[in-house]
């Protein structure tokens, strides 16, 4: 039964079940994706793609492991599961080894861009509000750290640290609207 709060938390839209791995979704087929980006957008993506290209001879290829980062750098925010899905569920050891080039990358990116729910500022705030026990606009830093490191698509300790650095006040509380603005502003 949904608890009563001052505001009803907006549920995150349907395609996001609690488990990161959606068991029923069919395998991803890049060939079926229609690219709808404009030429300008594609130029932008190419530039960013090159930034991630670490091959010594500049082959315009990135590893599977970088794919998620690149998609995120371009403004999307997929879950790790979604990234793995479009990559075809590679094994862990393949992530650093298998590469893709720009042409292979485009359909993956397109698919993620088309995903209906991308999450807005409000969604994000709502997500944090869940942890606002007092309903006063703050969350306990310690609690948030714990959650982020143990639930969902767990974050590593140093990632949590980076996220939270300098955000807690003297009482260990975080004003989450400010926090969200900080994250979104980058």
């Amino acid at each position: 039964m949904a608890p009563k709060k001052k505001e009803e938390p907006k549920p995150v839209a349907a395609p996001k079940p609690p488990e990161p791995e959606p068991p029923k979704e069919p395998e991803f087929n890049p060939a079926e994706v229609k690219i709808e980006f404009t030429a300008e957008q594609i130029e932008d993506f190419k530039d960013a793609f090159q930034l991630f290209d670490r091959t010594p001879t500049n082959e315009m290829k990135i590893t599977y492991a970088q794919c998620g980062d690149l998609i995120r750098a371009l403004g999307q925010n997929p879950t790790n599961a979604e990234v793995m899905h479009v990559l075809g569920k590679p094994k862990a050891e393949e992530m650093q080894v298998k590469m893709l080039d720009f042409e292979q990358f485009l359909p993956l990116h397109q698919h993620i861009c088309k995903a209906k729910d991308r999450g807005t500022f409000e969604d994000f705030v709502e997500g944090l509000r869940v942890f606002d026990k007092e309903g006063n606009g703050t969350v306990m830093g310690a609690e948030l750290r714990h959650v982020l490191a143990t639930l969902g698509e767990k974050m590593k300790e140093d990632e949590v640290e980076q996220l939270m650095a300098g955000q807690e006040d003297a009482n260990g509380c975080i004003n989450y609207e400010a926090f969200v603005k900080h994250i979104m502003a980058g």
Binding site: P18, D69, V130, G152, E159, I183
Partner: protein
């Protein structure tokens, strides 16, 4: 990847303010949401970090191009002066060798015994032979920002010189008795990094041998202190400290990159002698180190002709500077100099990561005569010889001891060139190239070996050359430095070549880590990375990224501004209808065509362009937004300003060479001549009237001399965006005083209770100077006039704990 089973979800039960349980599902959703956003944030940070790095690397390459411009200009001078034109004096200024010859005379010249040390000097008083405690005390003293008295400096340097003269060209080290050897790369005057290394790894000792791989000086502000520390330990532990020569251990390079200036500032009375002595010491530094006959440590690298047997035999001290070979070439006066435009066109396509992109990077330019340091120095030597000849006849000239060759040379001149002198010459040319290759080369990803035209000396060598070299010499690994790496070190060539760089925050605070490596008898490298963060304590990683990014962008904007004329023509070529607008794509490709910096302009454009309408950019407005000229340079015409700005480091170097008494002033006449020569070289008109205006714009001392620093200041651009953000005037002045090494300028974020390290830019905390002993030194307060005032006042001099650092120990691969 689930979130753990029931146990965890029980543990993670959440409650709302009414005490009701929040279903785990919602908590989960929330967690995932936040994590998604975090990861996007991290990815954006990463992109910024990367392009910031690319910007710095590109700027460095552009800067190296500047160096080549300097050589070209000097070459032009040599080619084009005609006696007895007035310019000749200027040029002979530049290449004049000083008096004095034999070693005994040198020792007299460098004598320190009649330098008195005042009682009030509170720095270390060295007694020779040095011992371990004194070396440690020296480190402590420098940590406290004291300055070693010039008497002890000279004494220490003399002792070092004596020791170096008996060392072989190739240091041979062994890891017997399970001793681990520590190897450090470039330090570039960054004392905090050396102190950090000692802190983490211990100071050199019998149990702790060290190899230092060159480039101790230039760019950073404590080059002399680093040298003194390294030499002190070398004297105390000659069997356990090994120093290699780097390309910056070269007095002409030092003129341009700051070491000369540093020494002259710190040691006003004896600086020149100290520099002269260092000139000799640098030439006596060993060239390479070999560990267990298996690992080669060299500053730059190798070429396809590198031959260690030959290296072992050369008289290394004859190769004083990359710009001065010891002998002339046989007089076949091929014109190796193209004019400036054609040479400057030869800007190499640079890979962002510092190795060549294209299989044939020089493409159609292969037919073009390649200028290299060697070519240039040959020409320099040639005309030097002519100089000698003239002076010899005039009876003014006395030969330097290290160039007996010159004696041979000038007699050869008078009796027509002899056949054996050419053979003699070829050997020395070969040796010359071998040494240049060792100190200047860079690895590349493709097979082969080509001249390194970005640096102007040495080669780019490929994996096949590494393979061949290692096989021929029965070695297994090359450890080199010379190039900045973001993580402090980087392998290439199938892990057979390791680049090691020990100056963290090299481009800017937060730009990169430094690293050192330990090798035990198994010869498996063990890395320690670090970042001296005394300047950024209290700033989080994202804030760090932002600061670094800000600096990079500022530098980039300056580059755009000073290329305005070229960019404008490029834009107008595209915008044929003169609408004043171009689309982003064209903007990006035009910039790349003009600047050749190989940067991701589309990714950068939000940072460089404030607004676009319909994806089109108003380029006139954009130029207006970029930067402002300083009021003092308002009247200077745009193209002139751009040209002078682009060649400012050349100009500055020439000025400093010309300023032979190191007063910081040059005569109006020299100034005028330099500018005229530069403009002739650039095929630009610069009338006397314009020169006069230039002079007037900077405060002259009304005695016909010009203050070099003040003049160069006129060409610093004001960052318009900062101005408009309403920063205080003080901050503005501070920014304008930024020199090559970053000053600890703080953001407005409130600091934590611990105060960041005070960084008095120049003056030592103690009262010691080496000026006239009879006077009492100025109290420190007065001396801090130059440093960002607010910092010195706010912060107590917290010392040893300042070296807060991030370190990641990487286990052996």
């Amino acid at each position: 990847m689930g979130c753990g089973v029931t146990k965890t979800s029980e543990f993670n039960r959440k409650f709302d303010k009414d005490g009701n349980v929040i279903p785990a599902a919602i908590t989960m959703k929330a967690a995932v949401l936040i994590q998604r956003w975090y990861r996007q944030y991290a990815a954006r940070m990463e992109v910024r970090r990367r392009y910031t790095w690319n910007i710095f690397q590109s700027m460095e390459y552009a800067d190296l191009q500047d160096q080549i411009k300097l050589y070209n200009f000097l070459g032009y001078l040599m080619d084009n002066f005609t006696p007895p034109s007035s310019e000749r004096n200027l040029i002979s200024h530049i290449f004049r060798e000083n008096e004095v010859c034999r070693d005994a005379e040198w020792e007299r010249y460098f004598s320190y015994t009649n330098i008195d040390v005042p009682d009030i000097y509170s720095g270390p008083r060295l007694t020779f032979p040095l011992d371990m405690d004194q070396a440690a005390d020296l480190v402590e003293a420098f940590k406290k920002k004291q300055q070693l008295h010039s008497r002890y400096v000279l004494q220490l340097l003399l002792e070092t010189w004596k020791l170096l003269k008996v060392l072989p060209n190739i240091n041979r080290v062994s890891t017997c008795h399970s001793k681990e050897i520590t190897i450090c790369g470039d330090l570039h005057g960054q004392l905090e990094d050396l102190l950090l290394i000692f802190y983490k790894n211990g100071m050199p000792s019998l149990e702790k041998p060290y190899v230092f791989n060159g480039d101790y000086v230039d760019r950073g502000k404590d080059s002399i202190e680093i040298l003194l520390i390294l030499f002190a330990f070398l004297l105390v532990f000659p069997g356990d400290v090994y120093l290699n020569r780097g390309n910056h251990e070269d007095h002409i390079i030092n003129l341009r990159y700051g070491f000369t200036k540093e020494v002259l500032n710190k040691y006003k009375l004896h600086g020149k002698r100290i520099l002269k002595l260092l000139q000799k010491i640098f030439s006596w530094l060993p060239l390479v180190t070999v560990i267990d006959q298996r690992v080669l440590i060299v500053h730059g690298g190798i070429s396809d002709t590198t031959n260690l047997a030959l290296i072992a035999r050369v008289d290394r001290h004859r190769y004083v500077s990359a710009l001065r070979p010891p002998k002339k070439k046989t007089p076949s006066r091929t014109n190796v100099y193209a004019d400036s435009e054609r040479y400057d066109e030869m800007i190499i396509c640079k890979n962002r990561r510092g190795s060549l992109t294209f299989p044939k990077p020089f493409g159609a330019r292969e037919s073009f005569q390649r200028r290299s340091l060697q070519d240039f120095s040959r020409a320099v030597a040639r005309t030097l010889e002519e100089e000698f000849e003239v002076r010899r006849r005039q009876g003014e000239f006395s030969l330097s001891s290290f160039s007996k060759s010159h004696r041979i040379l000038s007699s050869a001149v008078s009796s027509d060139s002899e056949p054996e002198s050419s053979e003699f010459t070829d050997t020395s040319n070969e040796e010359w190239k071998q040494i240049l290759d060792l100190l200047w080369s860079d690895p590349m990803s493709h097979d082969g070996c080509i001249p390194n035209e970005v640096r102007g000396g040495g080669c780019y060598w490929g994996p096949d050359v590494t393979e061949g070299f290692l096989n021929r010499h029965n070695l297994q690994l090359i450890i080199r430095s010379h190039e900045c790496k973001q993580d402090g070190y980087e392998f290439c060539h199938n892990r057979k070549v390791l680049t090691l760089f020990s100056a963290s925050n090299y481009y800017e605070v937060g730009s990169n880590r430094g690293a050192f490596v330990r090798l035990g008898p198994d010869l498996v490298p063990y890395f320690v990375q670090y970042q001296a963060t005394s300047m950024t304590r209290g700033l989080s990683f994202p804030q760090n990224v932002k600061r670094t990014e800000h600096t990079a962008l500022k530098v980039l904007r300056e580059q755009l501004f000073v290329h305005k004329s070229d960019l404008l023509s490029a834009f107008q070529e595209i915008d044929k209808e003169n609408t004043g607008l171009i689309c982003l794509n064209e903007w990006a490709s035009a910039i790349e065509r003009v600047l050749h910096l190989d940067l991701p302009w589309r990714v950068l454009h939000p940072q460089l362009v404030s607004s676009t309408t319909d994806g089109r950019l108003d380029y006139h407005g954009w130029f207006r937004d970029l930067a402002l000229k300083k009021p003092s340079s308002e009247h200077i015409e745009q193209t002139m300003l751009e040209t002078l700005y682009r060649h400012r480091s050349t100009l500055e170097t020439i000025f400093r060479i010309v300023d032979t008494d190191n007063s910081g002033l040059i005569t109006f006449e020299d100034f005028r001549q330099t500018l005229k020569l530069l403009s002739a070289y650039l095929k630009m008109e610069i009338s006397d009237e314009v020169i006069n205006k230039l002079v007037i714009s900077t405060d002259t001392n009304n005695d016909g001399s010009i203050d070099i620093d003040e003049f160069m200041e006129a060409f610093r651009l004001v960052d318009k965006s900062r101005l408009e953000r309403g920063k205080s005037l003080l901050k503005l002045m501070q920014d304008n005083q930024e020199t090559e090494s970053p000053q600890p300028v703080y953001s407005t974020a409130p600091q934590t209770s611990q105060c960041p390290a005070s960084q008095p830019a120049d003056p030592p905390a103690s009262n010691t100077t080496d000026s006239a002993c009879s006077q009492t030194a100025n109290p420190p307060a007065l001396q801090t006039a130059d440093s960002p005032g607010s910092l010195a006042e706010d912060c107590p001099a917290s010392q040893t704990e300042d070296l807060c650092h991030i370190s990641v120990v990487v286990p052996p691969q």
